[in-house]
Symmetry: C2
Subunit: 223 residues, 2 copies
């Protein structure tokens, strides 16, 4: 049961809750805690050597993020996304990221565009990627698009679409071929955005997400 974080440096005052949230989030997204695993307050107080207050607060934050599910008097468990959840989330992502791609392509500020071009430079690297590297690259890319789009509410909302959680659930099945295809799609999106082609950017983003959704659902139904 050693979760690799028992003996970490005690964080400064005011950072206790954030620290617990971070550790638990890492554990969930890295599958050290499997979906359905119970998170028991007394165990967590022992593991992090803090009182129940911060533990309860951390659990509430994770619940608000959607990473864990909470039942009254029965505690929290790591959330498991159903195939339906994943399908519905991708349907929403299609609209929201499609919008983000459009706004990003329309963005006029030269400085922002410069930063964007800089942030996504890595996707033009031709070297094959490891699955975990691609996961980070993918998250960064979608973040960069959202940022260039300039809609803060959209950025906030994208956190609720649980992309990391989906990836944690289906990401293990990523093959080199799928990775290569995804990178190519990212480049197509990036080119349309840099060419200030809103319709093209939207279309490329939607195509990318439709393929990703199909892949995720196929993987999910294999179980």
């Amino acid at each position: 049961m050693d979760q690799s974080s028992t003996a970490s440096p005690p964080p400064a005052h005011g950072a206790t809750v954030a620290h617990i949230v971070e550790r638990l989030r890492e554990d969930i997204l890295a599958h050290r805690l499997s979906p359905g695993a119970r998170l028991i307050e007394s165990e967590l107080t022992a593991r992090f050597d803090v009182s129940r207050g911060p533990v309860r607060e951390a659990l509430r934050r994770l619940a608000a993020e959607g990473l864990i599910a909470h039942a009254p008097n029965r505690g929290a468990v790591v959330r498991r996304l159903t195939a339906r959840d994943i399908s519905e989330l991708f349907e929403i992502r299609l609209e929201l990221e499609g919008l983000a791609a459009r706004r990003a392509a329309e963005a006029g500020d030269a400085c922002e565009r410069e930063r964007f071009a800089d942030a996504i430079r890595v996707i033009f690297d031709d070297a094959p990627r490891l699955a975990c590297d691609y996961l980070a690259e993918n998250a960064d890319f979608h973040d960069a698009v959202m940022r260039l789009a300039g809609n803060r509410q959209l950025q906030d909302l994208s956190m609720r679409l649980h992309l990391p959680l989906i990836m944690a659930q289906v990401g293990a099945a990523l093959t080199a071929e799928v990775l290569r295809l995804s990178v190519l799609e990212h480049r197509a999106i990036a080119k349309a955005i840099l060419a200030q082609d809103p319709n093209g950017a939207t279309a490329a983003m939607r195509a990318h997400l439709e393929r990703a959704a199909a892949f995720a659902l196929a993987r999910e139904e294999e179980e």
Copy 2:
């Protein structure tokens, strides 16, 4: 400072937090607590006669909902939406509710369609509305569309679009004429959905929201 809820019946065990959240939400949405007002833990413990635990938990839930803003070591204040916030939120609503209208129009289940028709019956009432009645009717209508669309994640997300908060901030300026127009737009959306016309439903919903956004922003900039 009597917030009208001090002496309410103490809720059953396990409902304390929910009770506090409800009361504060009501106070915020009814403008009994103005944007920027501070929510101080010690005041709330006194007002509701509970300990700090449930109060802190309630504040956290309201923060997760986006109704209050939270600063470290400085406490919580009632959130004030800027014109930019409102504009961005409507841009997102346009996409999400447009999608919901489309899916609702495509929904095949006869029983669900029946329930929808029943839930929105009130919008075909020709009597003029009071502003507060329209607010409830509007929320119910959009909820009903979301429900018929059958995407649960979409329903969850719609809570984060802060329609009630926006309405609380600009709703005071609703004139009878604006109300009448909105009701007509609702009917157009409903008709397209019941006629199973996805494109028409999406277009009608987007038109409705574009007008509402323009109205809200105009009102907001008057200050």
